[in-house]
């Protein structure tokens, strides 16, 4: 049995125990998935307390609806979908909805790179500073929501293109396109930052 089939069998067993009301299985589910859900929630909400509330809301929804989970996707993908939808619901209550394209325009995202400075030649220590990491974290926070969700799932959580598409209810082509735009956006921001140091 290969690794992914073993993983799938373990997940089926965990689900069977949760369905049967086994509390230790619920605890295992939290141990397995809460850290990833928290990281995603934090990247989507920007605020620790909001992220913590969102994690709790996600598990409340998940355990309530676990009987309707049919196992067509991985449990992790299903949980990510819940946290993403809950985050978007909260955002909708806080600000007007805008399309990705509008958001890109509003935030000055580029499709053609503008900053063509070669900063890769900088000394290695310039890439290891707290200030650089802080700039990069801020650039990630500034990504438009739709791009950031794809970016976090694919690049920081290691979710596959297909699972990311399932989580966000978009096509795999849209996932690839948004990830590419997010990468170009971050490259541009880092280029602006390093341009001041050359």
């Amino acid at each position: 049995m290969n690794e992914s089939r073993q993983e799938s069998a373990r997940e089926q067993e965990l689900l069977r125990r949760i369905h049967a009301g086994d509390k230790s299985a619920c605890a295992e589910c939290i141990e397995l998935h809460a850290p990833g859900i928290y990281r995603l929630a934090l990247r989507l909400m920007h605020d620790e307390r909001d992220a913590e509330d969102l994690v709790q809301e996600t598990f409340l929804q998940a355990f309530k609806a676990i009987d309707s989970f049919e196992g067509r996707s991985e449990l992790r993908t299903w949980l990510y979908r819940i946290v993403y939808n809950a985050a978007m619901m909260r955002h909708r209550g806080q600000r007007p909805m805008i399309s990705v394209e509008d958001a890109l325009q509003e935030n000055g995202a580029v499709t053609v790179p503008e900053q063509l400075l070669d900063w890769c030649c900088l000394p290695e220590q310039d890439f290891q500073t707290e200030e650089m990491r802080s700039q990069l974290e801020q650039a990630i926070r500034d990504l438009p929501d739709a791009l950031r969700a794809v970016f976090v799932l694919r690049e920081l959580e290691g979710v596959s293109t297909q699972d990311c598409a399932d989580t966000l209810s978009v096509s795999t082509d849209v996932v690839k396109q948004r990830l590419h735009r997010a990468r170009l956006w971050l490259r541009e921001r880092l280029s602006d930052y390093f341009a001041e140091r050359i």
């Binding site: 509390k23 230790s24 619920c26 605890a27 939290i30 141990e31 809460a34 850290p35 928290y38 990281r39 934090l42 620790e48 913590e52 994690v55 709790q56 598990f59 409340l60 355990f63 499709t111 053609v112 790179p113 063509l116 400075l117 070669d118 900063w119 890769c120 890439f127 650089m132 990491r133 990069l136 974290e137 990630i140 690049e155 920081l156 690839k176 990830l179 590419h180 990468r183 170009l184 971050l186 490259r187 880092l190 280029s191």
Partner: protein, 95 residues
């Protein structure tokens, strides 16, 4: 120096496929085309190099850890205190 503007259609087409190339999802023919273009276009070479560097930098960012008080809150919410693993030290403890 390249003899064409970086904003030319050819560069833009090439840039659209850049993530496929960097993720090793591009066909052999596309890879060859991109690599040929890079030998002719210094601007695109800069974009590729800095994009690769950007990717390696964000992948190396430290991942935020779930705070211990949140784990405890979840176990408490679902009446699972009896299954709570031994608490790890937490630097960011809140009230």
């Amino acid at each position: 120096m390249p003899e064409h503007s970086h904003a030319e259609k050819r560069c833009q087409d090439f840039l659209q496929d850049l993530s496929l190339y960097l993720d090793h999802e591009a066909s052999v023919a596309l890879c060859e085309e991109i690599e040929r273009h890079l030998t002719e276009c210094a601007d695109c070479e800069v974009v590729v190099d800095s994009l690769q560097r950007t990717i390696s930098l964000y992948r190396a960012l430290p991942q935020p850890e779930m705070p211990e008080h949140l784990r405890q809150r979840l176990y408490h919410t679902f009446h699972l205190e009896g299954f709570l693993p031994e608490a790890k030290p937490e630097a960011d403890k809140k009230d």
